[in-house]
């Protein structure tokens, strides 16, 4: 909030537009100058959240005082989730005009603590107008300002899908026709994936009695920490399963049939995209990936392999992809 030698009355109108969970909105801050030079704002009180009146007291340089009461519709702050302050938006709205944007190597406010913010608002003349900010809002600003020199590359995301149960379900969804079950393929999935809690993670319970081979073990590792970029042990088991299942002709035919293809179907972009939907529901492969897969089929064709084998190799590439880990 700047001190100005002009007479201002602030009409703050922030629409209460609850759009829905998880959606944010930006307030429109309207500042309207009502009169000319010769006055300064001595105090302004803005409600913290959702109140309806604003009181502005102004004092002119000639010593006259006027008080204006303004009714606002609603007041709120930008939130990521409704009702809770967003530090980034608060900083942008109230601080960045003086203290630079954040992060900024030239900013001296990086890592400003709550205590220092409180001190500034209490003691720095240009900041006293921010006294309306609650402690929660000030803490949100402090949290936003926190930064260090750690490289972004050190930050690692570990997704949590891909336990033995999920992987088994995915492989059955891809390779098994529920109306005509291939028990050979199903046994491969059971032995290599479902019965491997130690390698793929996922719970096994003495109460559900589904721990392979060890009744005394109750291993709950639902958050398996499977890295979507590839986990060596896990990928080892699933890769072997891909190869073993796809070495069965019936498995190749079953997968093709799920999208209305046959072994004689052309290995073209449209059919490859169709096939990909069995492995990666909802995903549209980019042209580079599609062309690479067509290239795999062409390479197999060049080695005098038939259509079934060409599709086999395309599927093996898909099956071994880390794209299976994202859902």
């Amino acid at each position: 909030m700047r001190n100005k030698i002009q007479h201002f009355a602030f009409l703050v109108s922030l629409p209460l537009a609850f759009i829905g969970c998880g959606k944010s909105f930006k307030p429109a801050l309207v500042v309207e100058e009502l009169s000319s030079e010769g006055s300064s704002i001595t105090s302004i009180t803005l409600p913290d959240q959702a109140t309806t009146t604003t009181t502005v007291t102004t004092t002119t340089l000639r010593g006259n005082t006027t008080t204006t009461t303004i009714t606002t519709t609603t007041v709120t702050t930008t939130t990521t989730l409704p009702g809770i302050p967003n530090g980034e938006a608060l900083y942008s709205l109230h601080c960045a005009s003086c203290h630079l944007s954040h992060p900024n190597p030239g900013s001296q406010k990086t890592n400003a603590s709550l205590a220092s913010i409180n001190n500034g608002i209490s003691n720095v003349s240009g900041m006293r107008g921010l006294s309306f900010l609650s402690q929660t809002q000030r803490q949100a600003i402090s949290d936003f300002l926190r930064v260090d020199v750690m490289a972004e590359a050190n930050f690692e995301v570990k997704a949590t899908i891909g336990t033995r149960t999920h992987a088994s379900s995915s492989f059955q969804d891809i390779f098994i026709d529920p109306n005509n079950v291939d028990n050979t393929a199903l046994n491969i999935i059971t032995q290599n994936i479902l019965n491997q809690p130690g390698a793929l993670g996922g719970p096994c319970s003495r109460y559900e009695d589904d721990c392979p081979g060890n009744r005394d073990t109750h291993v709950v590792t639902v958050a398996a920490g499977v890295n979507p970029l590839g986990d060596t042990t896990r990928k080892g088991y699933t890769s072997i399963s891909c190869e073993e299942i796809l070495s069965i002709n019936r498995s190749v035919v079953t997968v093709l049939a799920k999208v209305g293809l046959a072994q004689s179907s052309g290995r073209n972009a449209n059919n490859v995209q169709q096939l990909a939907t069995v492995f990666f529901p909802g995903v549209a492969l980019n042209s580079a990936s599609v062309n690479a897969l067509i290239g795999v089929a062409s390479a197999a064709q060049a080695k005098a392999m038939n259509g079934l084998d060409q599709w086999r190799f395309v599927m093996t590439s898909m099956c071994k992809s880390s794209l299976l880990d994202i859902f």
Binding site: G20, L81, D143, F155, T160, Y207, A223, G282, S321
Partner: protein, 461 residues
């Protein structure tokens, strides 16, 4: 089946590039993701709900909430409505196992000997602490705070409430000193309910016979249950608190399980008032030691009267099988005047006065007197950090991001974050504060799934 040379196979396989950084998933992919998180399975592509998502008539997150709702306790307010609903059971199982993974201790340690240990494992469902969270998630209008305020012992409702063999030992009932009893239930989880009086009172024929209560609790939700104490106490079977020996592991488990914190949870300066150079107890002489004990011991003081009760023969050659239980004898002496700096062999006989003492996520020092485990739970229920801890654990499961929610401004342990970490911490704090307000785990799951990070292929913004 045709065999293919590995050489040809390797030569022809390509590695598809990952979908790319922060690529938004489309509706169908997003539904597959959230369905997988709720069930650890893929949805049936031909199911009406999947088709509704693909053709755009149903929002993927709304569809997943419908899946989550299938496991709601709509029958007698304590179990799923349809015991044959496979998806409902899978949701219930996945979320219950997730809740169990939140706890530091995953089984009952050997306290006495193998016969007591095996019996104890057969009588108790070790996922009992998680039942309090599962009940809060799937029971209508059931506040999250009940996890630390409920005064009932809960038991799972499973498809087989009277198994004829112990789930851990596979021994028959006839091998036990107990009569007219049930082992811990087995089979698919269907719901959660309070333990009945009949289940609680266990009759036995040891030394002329008697009754022991296996479902005792001193309240505080899961904190005061027999199972939680059996799993976290980890002491000798003749344990008595005397201010030097304290149920510290239990207190440490409470800090870890309910507040997501590892000791020390205060700053060195916070421990200074308790340093006593003349103390008979060594760890009271330095702030580096006292900084842990000031929090840990004074919380443990609320559970100071906990003790083991063993029924049955010890030794490896005796039959039949027996078990270890938990008891809390009532105080018989007056309170101490302050946290003792010397051994007090009567400490466990005094009133269970303790202190909740820690620096919260904002760096504020929390210093609250408690009078019992139940009171500890009631006070924890007023703390934002209880809810932020819950948010942190769910956040880690759904987004794979583990956030530090500790005191960032401890001069002795400065925690620094890059902007991405700071953003995730802010998300978790926000989610936790909202959970404290609405007290509904289901709502928090919905909010997490609606985060922009959840929609992106690599969970980043």
């Amino acid at each position: 089946m045709m065999k293919y040379s590995k050489t040809i196979l390797v030569a022809l396989i390509i590695i598809l590039p990952n979908i790319g950084s922060a690529t938004p998933l489309n509706n169908l992919s997003l539904y597959y993701r959230c369905y997988a998180h709720l069930t650890q399975e893929r949805p049936d592509y031909n199911a009406p709900l999947t088709q509704a998502v693909e053709n755009g008539t149903t929002n993927p997150i709304d569809a997943c909430l419908q899946v989550l709702n299938r496991a709601r306790f709509t029958s007698n307010d304590n179990r799923i409505g349809n015991a044959n609903d496979r998806v409902a059971k899978q949701v219930l199982r996945t979320m219950h196992n997730l809740h169990f993974s939140f706890f530091e201790n995953k089984d009952i340690p050997v306290i006495n000997n193998i016969r007591h240990h095996r019996g104890t494992q057969d009588l108790y469902d070790i996922t009992t602490p998680a039942l309090y969270l599962t009940r809060a998630l799937f029971r209508t209008n059931h506040n999250y705070s009940t996890v630390v305020t409920d005064n009932k012992t809960l038991v799972p409702i499973r498809t087989n409430m009277s198994p004829n063999r112990g789930p851990a030992s596979n021994l028959p009932e006839s091998d036990y000193i107990f009569t007219n009893f049930n082992f811990a239930a087995k089979g698919d989880l269907l719901g959660v309910r309070p333990m009945t009086a009949a289940e609680n009172n266990l009759t036995h024929n040891f030394n002329g016979g008697g009754v022991v209560q296996r479902g005792r609790t001193v309240g505080g939700g899961l904190l005061g249950t027999t199972v939680y104490n059996l799993m976290s106490l980890n002491e000798n079977d003749n344990f008595r608190a005397n201010s030097l020996n304290m149920p510290r592991k239990w207190a440490r488990a409470v800090f870890n399980d309910m507040l997501c914190r590892e000791l020390p949870v205060v700053r060195n300066s916070d421990a200074e008032p308790f340093v006593n150079g003349n103390a008979g107890i060594e760890f009271r002489k330095t702030s580096s030691c006292t900084s842990c004990h000031a929090s840990m011991d004074r919380m443990a003081a609320a559970n100071r009267n906990v003790r083991y009760t063993t029924i049955g023969n010890s030794g490896t050659g005796n039959r039949p099988e027996s078990a270890t239980f938990i008891g809390w004898p009532a105080p018989t002496l007056g309170p101490e005047s302050s946290w003792p700096a010397n051994i007090d062999n009567n400490y466990w006989k005094r009133p269970t006065n303790g202190v909740l003492y820690y620096r919260n996520h904002n760096g504020n020092l929390i210093d609250i007197n408690v009078t019992s485990v139940q009171d500890l739970g009631n006070k924890l229920a007023t703390q934002p950090d209880l809810y932020i801890c819950a948010a942190k654990k769910y956040y880690k499961y759904f987004l794979g991001v583990d956030v530090n929610i500790g005191d960032l401004n401890d001069p002795g342990n400065k925690i620094q974050m890059n902007p991405t970490e700071a953003l995730h911490r802010q998300n978790v704090v926000t989610l936790g504060l909202r959970l404290q307000n609405h007290q509904t785990l289901r709502t928090m799951i919905q909010e997490i799934m609606n985060l922009p990070e959840y929609r992106n292929s690599n969970y980043t913004r």
